[in-house]
């Protein structure tokens, strides 16, 4: 065979199939062209849809980007599957190219019967190039390359660079759903605030869909539940106003209230901060869907910083939470926004350059002006959080009140129904209802008393913790230092022998008393350690031993002997250490109180832990007077006590904490030591 070279060629029909398969939706095709405008560093890009509610309409996309030269049209725009833009990294404005490799453009251009490109390159101020693609020409052609596309050099219609693409004779209509998707995609490409001179600001023109046009220009800001505006003047005074989504003023504060007399040593600034409540309930009646707002906030959420009108990175970039919104929400989640539920703009006017860029342009130097500015923004967001907390607290109080009155209304309506029933039924129903009502009232009263008791004890606990902090700090420290100084100086002044004879005994007594006091306060503080309330692996024998170590000074002070017999191994369960500690502590307290009710020459408490199958039995018994004057079932009820001044809560807590750990608490009035015996059965995970 004679040598001749062939090459792959494409049938003209491939264009139709490629276009259709790559981009089934019209809106995605248009978005591809808008992305080309973004990649061309345009700041504005207008998408106009004309007569698109029926086939035959047209779309025009016009931008003010850098345009294309004849060579760029020839080697780039007309080459399918390769884009010169996508291969060059960041654009001149530092944007990451968003368009794909040119295939999306093909799909877009094929939406109509013809596509017309007009482009004015930045680098050639007198030129404008025009390209017409008539798709009908391909219908009669065999191969793609058989159709020639002239690049015409014509008179320039505008002095400014830019590109327009018109797609005429659309094959399909463009419905509201497509335009809505297009609007959402434009918002995701847009600079969030629309006032950054270097940002990208697409606009939409769509007859009959004014709401979608507005969505593109206003973004989702009108859907924010709260809009906070805080202003800082040149004298460092701040004022703040918060409005709801209807624009109604909710909270306001002048400088005195907002800053409590503090003057911020920062240049004048204004913070706009929008907080969204991303719940289905809130968005049920809004035009925007919850999903699209969430998607937008994921991309743009956080507080962005603008100095003299220019955006300063990285503040507000994804992952940059310079005001610690997320941290503060983690620490106190109620009514606090995160970077995923809020967006903000801090605009600073700094003509005197008090804010300075770091030399590597990675942000601003954290000098006084910057930290004061951050404090201002931080205080403003805290102001909103505090006010929202107050509102939430008022709402809860109102709900409590309403719950009471709702019950009253329901009671009245039941009474009315009974009154309306026939005289025979009424005679039968009325006494039954009265009995029920009395029982319910008694139960409600008991619950109210129990809640009050818990509140009182919680207050006592908080007060004890405060005192424990204070006493283990300074007073005990000063006493210990003073005793040390007395010892040192007495040894020097009187000599070692005289010190040992006359002074050592009282000095050592003071030391022991201080040590005991130190144990009492650190025991209180240990009970309050936050990590004890976490659900985790809890080693039963270790917790019992720890409580006994803490109680040791109390027990010795009351002449109580404790005998402990631990099970072999390391039985453990999953739960909170605080729950198990509550059980052991309250059973020990119960014994100590019981000892005061009877005289006994030797006070004794026996504690054993024993593994039985998958259970651990914790048994606490004493040789006190036992359980007298109260039924065994009633000892677990809150408020039931036989001790004068007792709270009646200790054993109720034992019962509840045992249930929390999945166990059962039992009591015997007189156990093997003659006093009470308590058995706590707890399911364990291992030994």
């Amino acid at each position: 065979m004679a040598g001749s070279a062939g090459h792959l060629r494409f049938a003209a029909d491939i264009l139709r199939r490629l276009g259709e398969e790559l981009n089934p939706n019209i809106d995605q095709g248009i978005v591809e062209l808008v992305k080309n405008a973004y990649d061309a560093d345009a700041t504005s890009c207008h998408v106009e849809l004309v007569g698109t509610d029926a086939p035959g309409g047209s779309v025009r996309i016009e931008d003010d980007g850098e345009g294309m030269t004849e060579r760029e049209v020839y080697d780039g725009w007309l080459v399918l599957g390769r884009s010169t833009k996508s291969t060059r990294g960041l654009t001149a404005k530092g944007r990451h190219p968003a368009g794909n490799k040119g295939l999306g453009r093909l799909a877009a251009l094929r939406l109509g019967e013809r596509a017309v490109l007009r482009t004015r390159p930045l680098s050639q101020p007198d030129r404008e190039y025009e390209v017409w693609i008539e798709w009908a020409a391909y219908d009669g052609a065999t191969l793609v390359e058989d159709v020639s596309i002239p690049i015409q050099n014509g008179p320039r219609a505008s002095a400014h660079p830019g590109t327009s693409i018109e797609i005429e004779g659309l094959r399909d209509r463009v419905g509201r759903m497509e335009i809505k998707r297009l609007a959402r995609a434009l918002v995701l490409l847009a600079d969030p605030f629309g006032d950054d001179p270097a940002g990208f600001n697409p606009t939409l023109g769509a007859e009959e869909y004014a709401d979608l046009e507005r969505l593109v220009s206003a973004r989702y800001f009108p859907d924010a539940e709260y809009h906070l505006v805080a202003e800082l003047d040149e004298r460092g005074r701040a004022a703040v106003t918060v409005r709801d989504f209807r624009g109604e003023e909710l909270f306001t504060a002048d400088h005195a209230e907002f800053a409590q007399g503090r003057r911020y040593r920062a240049p004048p600034a204004r913070l706009d901060f929008w907080v969204f409540l991303l719940s289905a309930d809130v968005f049920r009646l809004r035009a925007a869907s919850l999903r699209e707002v969430r998607e937008w906030l994921e991309q743009f959420g956080g507080v962005h910083l603008y100095v003299n009108g220019l955006r300063v990175a990285p503040y507000g970039n994804p992952g940059n939470d310079w005001l610690d919104l997320n941290l503060r929400r983690t620490q106190s989640p109620e009514e606090r926004p995160s970077t995923n539920t809020s967006i903000g703009r801090l605009s600073v006017s700094d003509p005197d350059d008090r804010l300075m860029q770091k030399t590597d342009r990675s942000g601003l130097i954290e000098g006084e002006a910057f930290t004061e500015l951050r404090d201002f923004a931080h205080d403003a967001t805290e102001f909103l959080a505090r006010r929202r907390m107050e509102v939430a607290e008022r709402r809860r109080a109102r709900e409590r009140e309403q719950a009471g009155s709702r019950a009253g209304q329901q009671r009245q309506s039941l009474q009315d129904e009974i009154d309306r029933s026939g005289s025979k039924d009424r005679a039968r129903l009325e006494p039954a209802f009265r009995r029920y009502d009395r029982a319910r009232q008694l139960e409600a009263d008991a619950l109210r008393r129990e809640v009050q008791l818990y509140r009182t004890l919680a207050t006592a606990g908080i007060t004890a913790a405060t005192f424990a902090h204070e006493s283990s700090g300074n007073p005990l420290k000063v006493i210990a230092h003073a005793v040390d100084a007395v010892e040192r100086r007495a040894r020097r002044a009187t000599g070692q022998d005289s010190y040992a004879d006359r002074i050592a005994e009282p000095v050592n007594a003071i030391r022991r008393a201080v040590d005991n006091l130190g144990v009492l306060s650190s025991a209180t503080l240990r009970l309050l350690q936050a990590d004890k309330r976490r659900a985790t692996r809890v080693e039963v024998n270790e917790v019992v031993a720890q409580v006994l170590r803490t109680f040791d000074p109390f027990l010795r002070g009351r002449d109580v002997t404790v005998r402990v017999q631990y099970s072999p191994g390391t039985p453990y369960l999953r739960g909170s250490e605080a729950a198990l500690e509550s059980i052991v502590t309250n059973l020990l307290n119960n014994s100590l109180v019981a000892f005061e009710r009877a005289t006994s020459p030797d006070r004794r408490i026996d504690i054993t832990t024993e593994i039985r199958g998958d259970l651990l039995l914790l048994v606490v018994s004493d040789n006190g007077p036992g359980i007298e004057g109260i039924g065994l079932e009633d000892i677990w009820l809150p408020g039931e006590t036989t001790s004068v001044g007792g709270t009646g809560l200790g054993l109720a807590i034992v019962h509840d904490a045992t249930s929390d750990l999945g166990g059962i608490a039992r009591a015997v009035a007189h156990g093997p030591l003659a006093g009470a015996e308590f058995t706590i059965e707890l399911p364990i995970l291992g030994r």
Binding site: G473, D484, R488, Q529, R534
Partner: protein, 220 residues
Amino acid sequence: MIGEMTLVLAGSREVSSVLVVDDEEDARRSYSWLISDLDLDPRLVDAPHPPSLEAFADRIPGLADAVLCDHHLRTHNYAQFNGAELVSLLYERVPAVLCTRWEERDIDEIRPYLDRIPALLRRTDEESLRRGLESCAREFVEGRPPSRRPWRTQVHVQEVERDTVYVNLPGWTSLHMFGLRHAAFPPHVRDALTEDLRLYAEVNLGAEAPEDVYFRAWTL
């Protein structure tokens, strides 16, 4: 002052005065008895001046040869910073010991600064104060002793709670859980914290007790 002496630390550093920083007047005076019993000159700070942490720390080398500082400085409206922050800023400038009650809460608060606190004292007597100051001066000259030397190691996040992140150190012992505040992590690490995450930090793996362990230079 008659009878005043000089303590010589690390073979050459002379200390004749000790600055006492504590938020309560009686406590400051009680520390001064100890210092004067060592024949050194106690200098009591009635109020940090200037009040800002950095400015006060900068001024300290001109005020005394060494520092004895309590960790709690905010309780009595004395300072806007705590002792650990101040002492860590004095690292390699002035020998400074930090006194603490050794509550777990205190240790958690001190831990982020611990790599720059050579001496943490629970009990303040003559011997422990002298030894603490000596450790500081020696570390400034000879570098960290083996128990305080940092090693890059893996840290395993066990739980992430509202205000605390619980981690353990497989390279030290898996049995102890360290509770670290969220603020102890740099922001890029803080945002990534999740249960079961393994990340890296420099840790003094030679430490003998959990309260001596510090973490620094976190990376994902």
